[in-house]
Point group: C2
Chain length 477, copies 2
């Protein structure tokens, strides 16, 4: 293992983060907030970055391991240094790191007791961490900073290891640039739409940051319910749906083939899941809770899209819904959005391929000698991809089970433990019970918070990247 | 598809069931109970059997499909005809079929409101259905009745499709005989042990029936708590552990190699799971519920073994435990006992192999070119076995999710819906909430009962056998 190169790249990443933090500093100047949190954060982060990148020398000779280590520790460092403004704003260290990790990983789980009591620049930074994490801060780093060369691909794969690799361009830096450009462009469109729907520029920008990232933070403790506007809900629903789909397909749709999305098996299944869940949820809210049909549909479509895309916005306190409505949300929590999107969770493609795999097994038990490969977009899925998917799901469910068990051993009730675990591991945000959409994660005991921080970190990097560096095998010579 | 042969074998199976029902008839004579329920059941079942087996002609030319159909419909018919005595005892038809299916599939979930109000012969039959279903009524049929020939193997595999095939003898009839003989012998030993522990012969026999089958029915609504005897609990714990292990290994241990069990990867992992879960549960009951250490251990070891082996006996109302204790039981509900045992659930071997598979994937992400097969008992596990395991788990979890969703849409709360689904699909018995160990499944709405009956049927035949016959592909020419 080449420790030097890891520390060098981490240093460059922190220098980059320090530079990014100049933006919330400008926001603080604009709103006349205290400059102290961001000024100090810029200095500490930038200085640490410069120190590391000068002390250790760069090299292009990486193997897979260095890539894993840089991405895993990179995300951890970014979350920790990104929490400095929160700490200096008076938030306890573990809470600040929780909030920052929840931001960068686009989880959207919050520990802030009174969100509105914080300054606008702090809340701007809180939303912005999600936007940075959404498309991937390391991908942004690859896109903007030169001289990563071939090794950039290792980082790219370790940050976004989805089962479907979409090579938009042969050079990884070009791919990263394009994806970030698409992300940036759609974000601008959403800001304009929200401003036209009568939101202030501040509200439009902060909510666009957290919509496009499938993040879910809002500067209001009531989340999207604060606006009480079907138009705003409609706009946000649309952009959540977009953000939960594959950005490589968005690029193709915009540049080459208008029907790229509709030809994609994953996108079709994603729309099916959202429609089906909305239908059931509408029925449940209408039949079991006596809502009017339109109101039931309005709540249902927003909440299903919000949870399926792992955003986590709320337009009502769904923790108060009947259990038949909650189960719909619980089910989609275990699926998530599309691969190559900014969403989290298991991802629709993995779920779809497992179902196809199981269907094939049923077919084979009747026709034992038939050769029938599992197909995705009309191509046979290679065995090693299926193996990776199965392993992903097994490890994912194990972490979920262990996390749930540990939380309940700390005295949390079953439903809160279950949903807190899946909501952080799937980068969703709110759960049910103690951690419902109108409550917050501050009730979780200290050690529980550390577990949930780890869940978010593991979930955002799709399990392998973090779990691998936690195995002794990884550190063997 | 050869419909004639299916109906012929079903007829022979029902004739066989009719003959078996003479035993509870003798019990009814002995206790002076009304003979009407069993006499009628024997006549209806036997007559239907004779009618079918004479009307349709036998043949030895089966394919896999006929095997699936015979076993799936065979179990359904046995559950329905086996419920006749319950119906004639005044139990409503759907409840009678629920109780009978719960018996034969060794689930142990009950809908009886006042168990003690039923006659001793009815409760004897209720326990006996579990003993018949435990080792498999079709395996008993293969072992005892001649002339099934080669085709018997199809039935054997469809009834007990575990991933590890244990060929004790080259001829399937010999294997079935030996397994039933081992089962019978250990049952006799347990009866003697329970009688020596001061139980009446009736109690010893009925509880042995339901221990050895990993069933869980008891003629007492308080289950094993009725005896309040650490000795009885100890004996039952031991025999549940034995019944949850592989009977082919028991045969080897008794006949050839004393260390057969301890050399087996699955058995070792099974003991590890039981010990680990007992440890955590003891701690939770002691720390969170303030039980004395010995009492905590006594409850913990019994309940962990009872749930892991999917028996479902209770020595206390574990539904009243704190959530940290419940989560331990919930976790083992998803694992189950060993393949080749009388237990249900996913089975330890499948769980173990999935973990090994995931560990290999982690290893391969560091060493992409390494060749490292997943091993079980020092042999490489073939790819098709892994595929079958993955497909099994995917279908199993899908059925679990659909069943949970349907129950909660009928108005059941989340925890009751979740545990009722897994407790029936895994052939465990009691769950939490409405379906806790001291409650009963009568609260489940009518359609919900049909779903749970289907779950038990699907679970006992390890998913494929039933699901396959429900696909249109199966019925194509």
């Amino acid at each position: 293992m080449n420790h030097g190169v890891i520390l060098n790249v981490l240093g460059r990443l922190l220098r980059f983060l320090g530079a990014i933090m100049l933006l919330p500093l400008l926001v603080a100047i604009y709103y006349g907030d205290s400059l102290y949190p961001f000024l100090t954060a810029v200095i500490i982060t930038g200085f640490t970055g410069i120190l590391l990148s000068h002390r250790y020398s760069s090299s292009d000779e990486w193997k897979t391991r260095e890539g894993f280590a840089i991405v895993a520790f990179g995300w951890l460092s970014v979350a920790i240094f990104g929490s400095i403004p929160f700490m200096l704003d008076g938030i306890a260290p573990v809470n600040a790191i929780f909030e920052s990790m929840s931001g960068f990983t686009t989880t959207g789980a919050t520990v802030l007791l009174d969100i509105e009591s914080h300054t606008r620049s702090i809340l701007f930074w809180r939303s912005m961490t999600q936007w940075l994490g959404g498309m991937g801060i390391i991908m942004l780093f690859i896109a903007i900073l030169p001289k990563l060369g071939v090794a950039g691909r290792q980082l790219f794969r370790a940050e976004a290891p989805g089962p479907t690799e979409d090579k938009i361009k042969p050079r990884i830096r070009e791919t990263a640039k394009i994806l970030w450009l698409v992300y940036f462009t759609i974000s601008i469109v959403e800001i304009i739409a929200l401003v036209l729907a009568d939101l202030s520029l501040y509200d439009a920008v902060t909510h666009t940051f957290t919509t496009m990232a499938c993040g879910g933070f809002s500067p209001y403790s009531e989340s999207i319910a604060a606006f009480d506007s079907p138009l705003v809900e409609g706009i946000i629903t649309f952009f959540m749906l977009v953000a939960g789909a594959n950005f490589a397909l968005h690029y193709r749709t915009l540049r080459t083939d208008r029907s790229s999305l509709l030809k994609d098996d994953e996108f079709k299944f994603y729309l099916f899941i959202v429609s089906f869940a909305t239908l059931i949820l509408t029925f449940s809210l209408w039949d079991d809770m006596g809502e009017e049909l339109f109101t039931a549909f309005r709540f249902a479509v927003f909440q299903v899209v919000s949870i399926t895309t792992t955003t986590g916005f709320a337009t009502t306190d769904f923790n108060l819904w009947v259990d038949s409505a909650k189960i719909v949300l619980l089910a989609v929590m275990f699926i998530g959005g599309c691969a190559g999107s900014t969403s989290g969770g298991v991802k629709v493609v993995r779920f779809l391929l497992l179902l196809k795999y199981a269907r094939r097994a049923l077919f084979k038990s009747i026709h034992p000698r038939a050769v029938k490969p599992v197909k995705f977009n009309n191509k046979a899925v290679p065995d090693d991809v299926m193996q990776a998917i199965v392993s992903f799901v097994v490890i994912y469910l194990m972490i979920f089970a262990i996390s749930t068990a540990l939380l309940s051993l700390m005295g949390m009730d079953l439903i809160s433990s279950i949903t807190a675990s899946i909501a952080t591991l799937g980068n969703i945000g709110p759960g049910f019970g103690l951690v419902g959409p109108m409550s917050n994660f501050d009730v979780v005991p200290f050690v529980g918070k550390l577990i949930l921080i780890t869940n978010m970190w593991i979930g955002r990097l799709e399990v392998f990247t973090v779990i691998v560096i936690l195995t002794p095998e990884f550190w063997k010579r």
